[in-house]
Amino acid sequence: MDSKIVTTPGSARQPSLRGTEEPPFVKWLLIAIALGFCFVFLLLPLANVFAQALAKGWVYCANALAAPDSLAAIRLTVLVAAISVPLNVLFGLAAAWAIAKFEFPAKSLLITLIDLPFSISPVVAGLIFVILFGLQGYLGPWLEAHDLKIIFAVPGLVLATVFVTFPFVARELIPVMQATGSEQEQAALTLGANGWQTFWHVTLPSVKWGLLYGIILCNARAMGEFGAVSVLSGHIAGQTDTMPLRVEKLYNEYDAPAAFALSSLLVLLALFTLAIKIWMEWRQGRRLIR
């Protein structure tokens, strides 16, 4: 990675060979601004999360995490992610397959629609489901009559999370699948493989890294989602509070160290995601060089 940024030794002192090259101080100034910005607005707050979490010591932090409501929030977050990530993997594979391998009239519309959750405010996304499934909503009375609970219950949280994380897997897979083309699949067909065997032995292995990356991003967002989930949750402690909601509640109750203790778990998830991303990009780069 380093080699991309390294400039010729001594280039700062020698007169520039290229007329378009900026004077050295501009370069260093820009680098300093970029690094300084990252430090103040990204790294410092991140470090502060851990500092605040440990403000009252290890024991307090551990107790805050072990509190029944916090444990319930962690369990619920994992449950919601465990349901919505696989759903979006299925959807992402289907959508990417359709877009990469077929030509159909509404293709560009579908691509735009996949991106919709990126551009819409999560709160609005939550409200959409309230209008659909809430007591005063279109389907509310029917759901009530059949004793089905969606709003202020786990299904609502899953719906909101699926909606918000909709684009991640599909977005990662579409370019990979388009690059691979369909010749390998056709080759598998001529060798006698059926559709499922072709998908399993040929398509999936060729997109596995893109898919894995999509899953990891999707998971990070699913666990960290606040806005849409907040609208649909109803904030019942120990029942419908996910980790981000629990963090907010603790903070509003002036229990900052506990709020930060739970936050630090989310930050760890983010760092873990970042580490995997870097590792995968490094691996990808090595494959290209080989």
Partner: protein, 367 residues
């Protein structure tokens, strides 16, 4: 097994890619599907494989109608233009893929893969991945993979397109040897007439979705069925003539009018080897300036410029050139030994083909 197409048509939306084509490939034959790009050759190949379905017409493999047989069950070997090797599998897994799908016994698979790798000169490469192979090696892996489960026919789409010229030469010879050894019915697509002439037993010539001619390399070269074939196979000088004073003329060149009336036009063609040149100006009727000599190895290509400005291309051996003491800028005499009437005004060519192959007063192609 034999392959037969009866009146096969393929339509993509508004485009007729293949128009009522019928031909057959005999058992054990090595046949070329030749034509310019976009002529429908690959579509025909893909229909035989079952990767495309014909809009109408019937397909037979080994005498059985296969229109309704799925690609998986047609028992064909298909080699894609860019080989389409499985990138995530090594060479032996690529070759073994079809055998695993067809549930061969493990020991049989191992034996078959080893046999193919030996036959194809790929020993020692079994653990390599496609990106670690050269173009020629990739092509051999692709053919080995296609042949692994002993298909009844082998179909190759532009098999020599993706490798450089020198390796292409070797691969051609290798394909002929392989076909000789295995004797599997083989049909390959190419846009390179030289390749088709050199490799195949018989050639099917396509253009614009229409079958122009089927024949041995010799037949299509010496007895082209129409102007397109004549101009596509081998090099050809083409002249536009007009009947004037009882003879068909272009510049100072005269040809018998064969009873055509005054003012009628016709087009003739002659091969560069049909032009005989002499440094003795009294030997032949026409005179020209030797403008340029192109060295092609044993043969030389010579460009003649007539006083009227017409240009004619001729071909001769190095020895003859030296014997005549020819050189650039020299005045020579020449005659045209044989020619062929390509078209007469009374029977015009279909307009779309005239448009795609315009005929300037004199042209010579791919000499």
């Amino acid at each position: 097994m034999s392959i037969e197409l009866r009146n096969v048509t393929k339509r993509f939306g508004d485009v007729l890619a293949v128009k009522g084509v019928s031909f057959s490939v005999k058992e054990g034959e090595l046949m070329a599907l030749l034509g310019p790009s976009g002529g429908g050759k690959t579509t025909v190949l893909r229909m035989i494989a079952g990767l495309e379905l014909p809009t109408s017409g019937d397909l037979f493999i080994g005498g059985h109608r296969v229109n309704d047989v799925s690609v998986q069950r047609r028992n064909i070997g298909f080699v894609f233009q860019n080989y389409a090797l499985f990138k995530n599998m090594n060479v032996s897994n690529n070759v073994a893929f079809g055998l695993k799908i067809k549930k061969w016994r493990r020991a049989d698979i191992q034996a078959r893969v080893a046999e193919l790798l030996r036959l194809f000169g790929l020993e020692g490469l079994d653990r390599r991945y496609p990106h670690q192979l050269s173009g020629g090696q990739r092509q051999r892996v692709a053919i080995a993979r296609a042949l692994a489960s002993k298909p009844s026919v082998l179909l190759l789409d532009e098999p020599f397109g993706a490798v450089d010229a020198k390796i292409r030469e070797e691969l051609r010879e290798w394909l002929v040897t392989l076909h000789h050894d295995l004797n599997v019915t083989t049909l390959f697509v190419t846009h390179d007439q030289e390749e088709a002439l050199e490799v195949s037993n018989r050639i099917v010539i396509f253009s614009g979705g229409i079958l122009e001619q089927v024949g041995t390399p010799r037949e299509v070269y010496e007895q082209p069925a129409n102007e397109f074939v004549a101009r596509f196979i081998g090099a050809m000088n083409v002249l536009e003539l007009e009947v004037h004073n009882g003879a068909a003329r272009a510049g100072e060149l005269e040809f018998p009018s064969n009873g055509m009336s005054e003012g009628q036009k016709l087009r003739i063609g002659f091969r560069p080897y049909a032009v005989q040149i002499s440094s003795d100006l009294s030997q032949y009727r026409y005179h020209a300036l030797l403008r340029h000599t192109f060295f092609l190895g044993v043969l030389l290509r010579v460009e003649l410029e007539l006083p009227s400005g017409l240009t004619i291309r001729a071909r001769m051996t190095k020895e003859e050139y030296a014997h005549q003491a020819l050189e650039d800028g020299r005045e020579v005499s020449f005659q045209i030994r044989q020619y062929r009437v390509l078209s007469k005004e009374s029977a015009p060519l279909p307009p779309e083909r005239e448009a795609s192959y315009p005929a300037p007063p004199v042209i010579a192609e791919n000499i």
